[in-house]
Amino acid sequence: MRKITLTALMIGAVALSACSQDRFNAADGSANAAGMSGSVNDPTSAAYFNQAIGDRVLFAVDQSTLSPEAERILAQQAQWLNSNTAYSAIIEGHADEQGTREYNVALGARRASAVQSFLVQRGVAPNRLKTVSYGKERPLAICSDESCYQQNRRAVTVLTTGAGT
């Protein structure tokens, strides 16, 4: 049951991603990415990054501080990015719907930046990491209670091909 929900959420995110670059996020279910993201059993694959390590970290209400769990995931993300330098990443910051629109854009920017700073601290070249905030515009889970809100307060590290800029 849990797994089914997660799959559904990831598919849900596909349509939301507006990006012209090739993306290798689990969220991306398009034929292109599915063909190129590789097997989750291959530790150099995007699928491994997305699913085995985890492409996202979650935040407390109105916070952009990284939890110990988030730092554990991000440490592995950094290690992976340092070994797989063909990839860059866009870090997407998001907020739940409990807030005004502009504030949530700014809050998502804080969250994305917190992730970016951590990854840079762990050795990832800054020019491989971009940030963008979607505020409350792109929820993954759409109910109006905490069970959904906690999934939406997130920063997602979306892999892209190509060297940094």
Binding site: I90, T100, R101, E102, Y103, A106, A114, K130, A141
Partner: protein, 445 residues
């Protein structure tokens, strides 16, 4: 004036020669008057018999114009229409003398009569307003001329005149609203910028839904709209010409996120939020490019800036105290005074066009409210309460506020609502799809 045919309405405001003999002082007799500064009022009953069709074929126009006038006035909550089924007399011709007793008998305090003619695609509407109980005409007869496809605008002009004569305030019916039209499920919402009449009629789309767009904001003259678009992959500020729907990026952000823009009252510059290293501050920029000035400098979130009507000050929100609160600073930046001190969080402040009030969104105890306060923070009043109300915008006369109300749950969607500043007359504004982020434009010329 905008160049599109729909809007090129060449409204001629003419005092009809035969009416000019009525002395202006007659309008001052003061009996028929609504004081809309007071809280609770009894709506003023009015009768508007269907305007006379003075040329063949004008009857459908006369009917529509009359209905729009009645809807405008009733929609304010300040007026109540007496249904024509209650009438005991008709108006046989526009020039016939008024039989006040017939209108007193049905308890109409105001009577609006009019006539419509059509010639070569031009519509002319003339009308008079009467104070039934004192048996006098209120002001002078007027006529408006426009094109057939602009008859709703002509009707709004008539209603604005009636509203203005009875309330002493300027009206707001001949105005437009830009907003975000939304479709699709909550986790894959498609958004595009749209424009409509204040009452939801004549919706037109100004952008497609290829990119996420947020929060359009009118210039004071109503000719341009600022908005935020994700079309480059980053939130960036665009300006759109309403008449041509031409748009261009303002180049505000460089590689950084720029959002929450508003025009200065003179339309020469914009204020907006710019994010750097995760921190959002408020900046000012010449709308034609050129220098960018940083107005706030703190590690807090500073966003949602709005100019005072004279352009000298800026109200904005900041969480520098730990939660979102409202602050006012000089238009050149510098020290800011906090003005919100109640429980909860305050955001999206908007200065009223009269300069006297700030409208805002308040979050407290799990509810959202639209409220107003004086510019010094005193006399805070909450006008609405719901699961999610946000983003107030002012009617051009500063008497009514429109905002976004989003319903709860997986099937939740936003809609536009209006409420007057006393908290009365909450109404949903009809839109074809879900709608958010309204920005109310000026009265049109």
């Amino acid at each position: 004036m905008t160049p599109t045919k729909l809007l090129a309405l060449a409204l001629a405001l003419l005092a009809l020669a035969p009416f000019v003999s009525a002395p202006a002082a007659q309008a001052q007799d003061g009996r028929l008057r609504i004081e809309i500064t007071e809280g609770v009022i009894e709506p003023l009953p009015f009768a508007v018999p269907t305007f006379q069709a003075e040329t063949s074929g004008a009857a459908p126009y006369a009917e529509e114009i009359t209905r729009v006038i009645a809807a405008d006035l009733s929609g304010t909550g300040l007026f109540r229409e007496i249904p024509s089924s209650a009438f005991i007399a008709n108006v046989s011709s526009f020039s016939a003398p008024i039989q006040y007793a017939d209108w007193k008998a049905v308890n109409a305090q105001a009577l609006i009569t009019g006539a419509v003619s059509e010639q070569g695609g031009q519509i002319t509407v003339k009308f008079r307003v009467y104070d039934v109980f004192s048996g006098t005409e209120l002001g002078q007869g007027l006529q408006y001329t426009g094109t057939v496809d602009g008859i709703r605008r002509i009707a709004h002009k008539v209603a604005d005149t009636v509203y203005s004569r009875i309330t002493g305030e300027s009206g707001y019916f001949d105005s437009r609203v830009v907003f975000v039209s939304e479709s699709g499920p909550k986790d894959a919402r498609q958004k595009r910028i749209a424009i409509m009449d204040y009452d939801g009629a004549n919706v037109k789309y100004l952008t497609d839904s290829a990119s996420l767009v947020l929060a359009p904001r009118f210039s004071k003259d109503g000719n341009r709209v600022l908005y935020t678009s994700y079309e480059t992959g980053q939130p960036q500020i665009f300006v759109l010409e309403v008449g041509s729907a031409q748009r261009r990026a303002l180049g505000t952000g460089g590689g950084n996120m720029a959002f929450s823009p508003r025009f200065s009252p003179d339309g020469q510059s914009i204020i907006f939020s710019l994010e750097q290293g995760g921190n959002s501050d408020i900046y000012r920029m010449d709308v034609n490019g050129g220098s960018i000035t940083q107005l706030t400098n703190s590690p807090a979130i500073e966003t949602a800036p709005s100019f005072s009507p004279d352009g000298s000050r800026i109200v904005f929100e900041s969480d520098r105290s730990g939660t979102q609160q409202l602050y006012i600073m000089s238009a050149n930046g510098g020290e800011a005074q906090r003005i919100s001190f109640g429980p909860g969080r305050y955001g999206t402040p908007v200065w009223s066009p009269r300069g006297d009030l700030i409208a805002f969104t308040k979050q407290n105890a799990g509810r959202f409210h639209i409220g107003v306060m004086r510019t010094d923070g005193s006399e805070e009043r909450l006008l609405t309460a719901s699961f999610l109300d946000e983003g107030p915008t002012w009617a051009p006369n500063g008497r009514v506020i429109m905002f976004t109300r989003e319903s709860q749950g997986a099937a939740g969607a936003p809609a536009l609502y209006s409420v007057d500043i006393s908290g009365r007359n909450l109404r949903r504004v009809p839109t074809p799809d879900a709608a958010s982020d309204p920005s109310w434009g000026p009265l049109q010329n």
